[in-house]
Symmetry: C2
Subunit: 445 residues, 2 copies
């Protein structure tokens, strides 16, 4: 049996975008060339850097941003917009251009993470979709990168699907992988994004059997002695003893999902060594976050599994990115930089380009070149001596496929691990602080 559905992403949109479109079609401003920018005014939670994630997913969703019969029927039946707007939406294909930070790139306050250029009509209706994807995925990636730094060389797996809605669980697994995690428990993330998957058994496996010994014997019969046995269903010391008695000293690993981990891990290591199981690995999985991982650095732990904290951004489940009109043509045909002046929510108008200034391999600043109008940001005068941070994702409506799918995801991970090396040492601390490098604005002219 096959389920068939249209996968249009077009209604994952706030109603006001279509309301504005209707009004703009009516007064002619819909055709005004416009520049929207996706950026964040601050780093959530006193983080020292942010990690961009979601771009590859966004590009695939943009491909499916089409108003088909089902979408148009809903909008007509509910009188969301008028007939001319429905005709416009029926023909809608994003025909503009999008450039921005590569997925996996670091970002700082004011970084122009995405720049969307097109008519107002083209660009205004992408606001919600772009923010939904980037805010969620970047929040997870930012937390995940801190955990990955804290874990150092020890393997780190994401296993938080049960603490995230069923589709964001897949996106979260992907974001964590980009930020340095090595594997996920989520099979859909494995299928869709090519991420390695892991997992052996839950407490229910032990409880299903008449004894813990029965459960361990059955698991080893099915999965071999290299498997990982969960030893804390009843009593950890007894569990470890049973595990080695059943599996022998060649047991692959034990997993501990409860208790005071630094103490328990030390005791289990000692017990395993005394039993001769010196090569048996210890995986811990109980309520870990970046602080708990850091506190286990000196403990004899071989691998970490992280759930709730990574998929919920470790206290900051969304980034604070916004999508703002920063420049447009006026009625006289000239370009105008625009920005709102609202209290605490002011933004910086103008088209922008961004550069990471790196000296002796260490990032010094996020330099953002601002054009008041639409002067050519590609001119040499507008180029400081740094790494250009924006690349082209969509050109005249054509989406660059290099950033999508498993290949784009893996490339994002490699990019992240590479640019993370440029961070100054102070950026690696976990405590709340200012951004690791300052954002510097330069005028293009």
């Amino acid at each position: 049996m096959l389920w068939i559905m249209t996968a249009s992403s077009a209604l994952k949109t706030d109603r006001y975008e279509l309301t504005m479109l209707e009004a703009a079609l009516r007064d002619g401003t819909a055709a005004r060339p416009s520049v929207f920018e996706l950026f964040s005014r601050r780093l959530s939670g006193g983080r020292r850097f942010g990690v961009v994630a979601g771009t590859g997913r966004l590009l695939s969703l943009l491909r499916d941003f089409r108003f088909g019969d089902d979408e148009l029927r809903y909008l007509r039946d509910e009188k969301v917009v008028d007939a001319p707007t429905l005709r416009h939406l029926e023909a809608y294909r994003f025909a503009g251009s999008i450039r921005g930070y590569r997925e996996g790139e670091l970002y700082f306050p004011g970084s122009p993470i995405l720049t969307v250029e097109g008519t107002f009509a083209d660009a205004v209706i992408l606001e919600t979709l772009a923010l939904s994807v980037l805010n969620h995925d970047s929040a997870v990636a930012t937390a995940a990168s801190r955990m990955s730094i804290a874990a150092g060389e020890r393997p780190l797996a994401e296993m938080g699907s049960r603490r995230a809605a069923e589709d964001s669980a897949v996106a979260a697994a992907r974001a964590a992988f980009i930020a340095g995690f090595g594997a996920t428990s989520n099979l859909e993330a494995g299928r869709t994004w090519g991420i390695p998957t892991m997992g052996t058994a839950a407490h229910s496996w032990t409880l299903l059997h008449d004894s813990e010994e029965d459960a361990f014997r059955a698991q080893i019969a099915a999965l071999g002695t290299d498997t990982t046995l969960l030893v804390d269903t009843y009593d950890i010391r007894q569990g470890v003893e049973t595990a080695i008695r059943v599996a022998g000293t060649g047991l692959g690993g034990v997993r501990i999902d409860s208790g005071d981990l630094p103490i328990v891990a030390g005791a289990v290591r000692q017990q395993l060594d005394e039993l001769g199981a010196t090569g048996t690995r210890i995986t811990v999985t109980s309520d870990l976050d970046e602080y708990a991982i850091a506190s286990l650095a000196a403990s004899p732990v071989d691998a970490y599994g992280v759930g709730t904290s990574v998929v919920t951004g470790s206290g900051y489940p969304t980034a604070s990115m916004v999508y703002k009109l920063v420049a447009r043509q006026g009625s006289d045909g000239g370009w105008v930089a625009v920005a709102k002046a609202s209290q605490d929510k002011a933004s910086k108008g103008g088209r922008k380009a961004a550069f990471r200034i790196v000296s002796d391999g260490v990032a010094q600043s996020e330099t953002v070149v601002v054009s008041d109008g639409f002067e050519d940001l590609d001119s040499p005068a507008a180029h400081p001596d740094g790494r250009a941070l924006q690349v082209s994702f969509v050109d005249g409506g054509e989406i660059d496929t290099a950033f999508e799918g498993p290949a784009g995801t893996l490339a994002a991970r490699e990019h992240h691990l590479r640019v993370r090396e440029e961070l100054p040492v102070r950026a690696l601390a976990l405590s709340k602080s200012d951004p690791a490098i300052p954002t510097v604005y330069l005028d293009a002219d």
Copy 2:
């Protein structure tokens, strides 16, 4: 153009569930009749009650929990499970039964929110999907209900899609609606779940135009004077003045999205009244949560729009529900109540039924009747004098359609608003506290 995809939900599953299935098929325990329970040991964040949400979505996802060619190919290619397990999965249809709390119902620590009965093979592989949906949706609904209580009779709209991943945004809109919100900005939530949608214009609408006055004139020309004008792009006092000059005193409303709201709302109300626009409504939308809403109770605000805080569960983006084996048949054919004893994570074994004891219209306790084995919980002796909290959702694999779709969503909302009336007054306070009513366990025999 039509996009076609299989909508199987079967891989939104942690790998270890299939690993356990493989091992259980091998040692014969896969066929053991088993009872799994979904419950929470505590209420997140010192909340005084929890709100169950997601059940209707879960039932629809269960309908699509099928291992088709694509899913089986992935599992085979990646060697996730062996050939006999693949054959088992190919034929898999959940053939067991699920009962539990109605969507919109309140829950407390230990409430048996869902009870899944079937063979171990039937029930073990639903763990991740059930927890993903219920943990996310219930976290949002619990926060939303507190906001709805704080808002009282004033209209309350959800507009947080941009701060949630694109699919959980739709689920969050639904959960907020169930918990008392009246509308959402999210069009997909409108289409899929029949929720009223709202929204008029963003700051980009004002910035698109050569002046704020141009923008207001164009919006009124398109949408009529009953529309809501966003007045804080530049200067609120000037914005209100322009709004009434352009629209007249019959303007529907103004929206304020920044500033110190109690002060600003008071000033805007006074200005509107002085201008003669005594019927023009004030909507506020800036970083609201349940505490901010409560603090605005005495301010002249007519409606609230809530974004980030509702879709992220107002500090608690996931509920702490778990899915545990609580009873199973043993090798001798007798029933055994089972529970893990892990430190801080102990659970209570046994099949359960639950009742809300209500006296003079006020809830007194959550009474959970526990059967050590599989005694009939339907016997009169096991029934305290209260409202039975569990209903049948799935019987022998047949899903009751009454709980799905827009009709099920609306019924859940009505149920929530009805049962919320039974809460004692102390449950309505926002500060951290113990659960509003105690959970009382009774033995069935």
